[in-house]
Amino acid sequence: MPDSADIPAAGLPERLYRTIRLIRRFEERSIELVKSGDIGSGVHPCIGQEGVAAGVCAALVPDDVVFSNHRGHGHLLAKGCEPGRVLAEMVGRVDGIDRGRGGSFHPSDFSHNVYGATGTVGHGAAIAAGAAWAAKQAGAGQVVVSFFGDGAVSQGALLEGLNLAGLWQLPVVFVCENNLYATTLPVGTAVAGTITGRGEAFGIPSSTVDGQDAEVVLAAAAAAVRRARDGGGPALLEMSTYRYHGHHTFELKTRLRYRDPDEVARWLARDPLEIQAARVPAPARERIDAEVEDEVAAAVRFALASPRPDPGDALAHHYSTGLPARAGVAD
């Protein structure tokens, strides 16, 4: 059985720093590609939340499954997906992880056990419960992680999924990235009670974790993953975190005012990149930074060089069996 409890300590700070740095730079370049019009959908940047993706995925083995959400680029990169193919997907090219059919909002990469990101907020948690049930039945010790935000915890299907996971003691770790807002909605005006209280209501051990410190995240995730792997059932981890950018790049234009500048400043002072950087000796850090620059630059080149899909293929992949979708005009 894979064992996430013994995460090689050697080079751990560097590995976490590398992942965070990769996600940060990837997102920054993505925003540029939004501005240049290459990413038509815009993106939901996870800048400021990289510690969660890095820490959680460091607790996983390749066989473990991840369900992402709309703010998912970091989850995929941390799970080991190729930056070039992820970015190619975001710009809608044939070399994208989903052949340009998923885009930034619905990425999946089955070669790295990222099963997808449904656009229906919260529903991925119930889907994850089903995958976890299948994993438990298979008995290979596979663990499923479901990422979602604070807005998702008021969605009935998610709560139903928590009940099923608690009832059947499924190997799933629910990771709630509480960045204090659902688009413009402050968590305090949406959630009666607490987020961890919702997990506990369904008999799921739940705790609040400092999401800005990747090593703290990793420790909490590793414990939850180990317990799930050993048949101890589900866990819910509420990650206290913050997004430094708008909900979606449309905020670059709309400039919605819903966050207190002092609040933003307080969270900027706890930048997961800087927190982890402080644990890595300068020379190693510079080496990693340089490698990440090259990797991201290569990813952008790869993505933009990839061919656009043939509009003639627009009806492909609608069905797994190859049934062509019925056309809109009769010939």
């Binding site: 499954v65 369900f67 994208g96 992880i97 989903d98 052949r99 340009g100 059919r101 998923g102 619905h106 999946s108 990469d109 089955f110 099963y115 997808g116 449904t118 656009g119 229906t120 529903h123 119930a126 889907i127 994850a128 419960a129 089903g130 995958a131 976890a132 049930w133 299948a134 994993a135 039945q137 298979a138 009935g156 299907a157 709560l159 139903e160 999924g161 009940n163 099923l164 009832l167 492909a316 992949h317 609608h318 069905y319 797994s320 069996t321 049934l323 979708a325 019925r326 009769a330």
Partner: protein
């Protein structure tokens, strides 16, 4: 030859497929005790790892089935009441049915959604008698509505083996139908292939589900006077347009009798496609439900809203008299 009931055919198909493929399992409410009778004996035979009794969390367990399917399993999810398919409509039409597309073909979601109680329950009121299959057809979700025990068996087997989501409607009014069959002759029925129950030359009557039997009865009644061809598409989506085209090439006249609502219903799609693309020598006619719920506690009110044989007979004579 043994007589096979529609209900028993469903039960048999489930058992055979669970036997054949360990990836298949069934989940739903009150299935341990087989409240709907479809799961009769399955718990005893396959145990609680293959027969999963669920809480009243339809959205949750519909998504759950999607997740299990993404992980390689073949779930069959049973729903007790037609409106439950509206409750989980988004999970099926907008999620399960889009994973293949959104993943560029990496993912497949081979889930079968089984409704063994489609349509009218006498006196059960406005919320227990719907026929929501046109909703799924509109969203391009594979949907079947077999009329006979052998077709029910064959299409359930096919639905379970299909790599895409498939919604299976079993009409309450057909569950009692029995048919002489050799079990050895039972086998998969392909999606999107219709069936001519009764050949005819004057008019094509398209009917699905339990109304197929009413259409056959009317055809028999009118025999001698009118030669009615009864065409049963069996699948609502994909639809056997080629089969319908062959029938209309013979008859040139079309009546559709359908138990779903009129507006944007299955009969609308059939009439529209026939008018636009197929051979018609007279305007098509529809006999459907009104755009209203089956009414309530008074069966006489309900019956007044259901398509019936008299309406079908009248429609047949109307299309025979008319021309373009």
């Amino acid at each position: 030859m043994p007589k096979l009931s529609y209900l028993k055919a469903l039960n048999r198909a489930l058992g055979d497929e669970m036997e054949r493929d360990p990836a298949v399992f069934i989940m739903g409410e009150d299935i341990n005790l087989a409240l709907t009778n479809t799961t009769h004996g399955l718990l005893e035979k396959f145990g609680p790892d293959r027969v999963i009794e669920t809480p009243l969390s339809e959205q949750g367990f519909t998504n759950f089935a999607t997740g299990a399917a993404l992980a390689g399993r073949r779930p069959v999810v049973e729903y007790q009441i037609p409106f439950l398919l509206m409750l989980v409509f988004e999970q099926i039409a907008n999620q399960a049915n889009k994973f293949s597309l959104m993943s560029g073909g990496q993912a497949s979601v081979p889930v079968t959604y089984l409704l063994p109680a489609a349509g009218w329950r006498s006196g059960w009121g406005a919320q227990h008698s719907d026929q929501p299959y046109p909703l799924f057809a509109h969203m391009g979700v594979k949907t079947v509505l077999p009329a006979t025990p052998a077709d029910a068996y064959g299409l359930l087997v096919t639905a379970i083996r299909d790599d895409d989501p498939v919604v299976f409607f079993a009409p309450i009014a057909a569950l009692g139908v029995r048919e002489d069959v050799e079990y050895a002759d039972l086998g998969p029925v392909p999606l999107g292939v219709g069936r001519v129950h009764r050949p005819g030359t004057d008019v094509t009557v398209v009917a699905v589900g339990h109304l197929v039997h009413d259409a056959i009865a009317v055809a028999d009644e009118l025999a001698g006077d009118v030669s009615v061809e009864v065409f049963d598409p069996r699948s609502v989506y994909p639809f056997d347009w080629a089969g319908l085209a062959r029938s209309l090439d013979r008859t040139g006249r079309l009546v559709v009798i359908d138990d779903s609502n009129r507006s944007c219903g299955l009969a609308a799609e059939i009439a529209a496609t026939a008018a636009e693309e197929l051979h018609l020598v007279a305007p098509p006619k529809r006999v459907t439900r009104p755009d209203g719920a089956i009414v309530g506690a008074a069966p006489e009110l309900d019956v007044a809203l259901q398509p019936n044989r008299e309406q079908l007979t009248a429609a047949i004579y109307k299309v025979l008299k008319s021309g373009l």
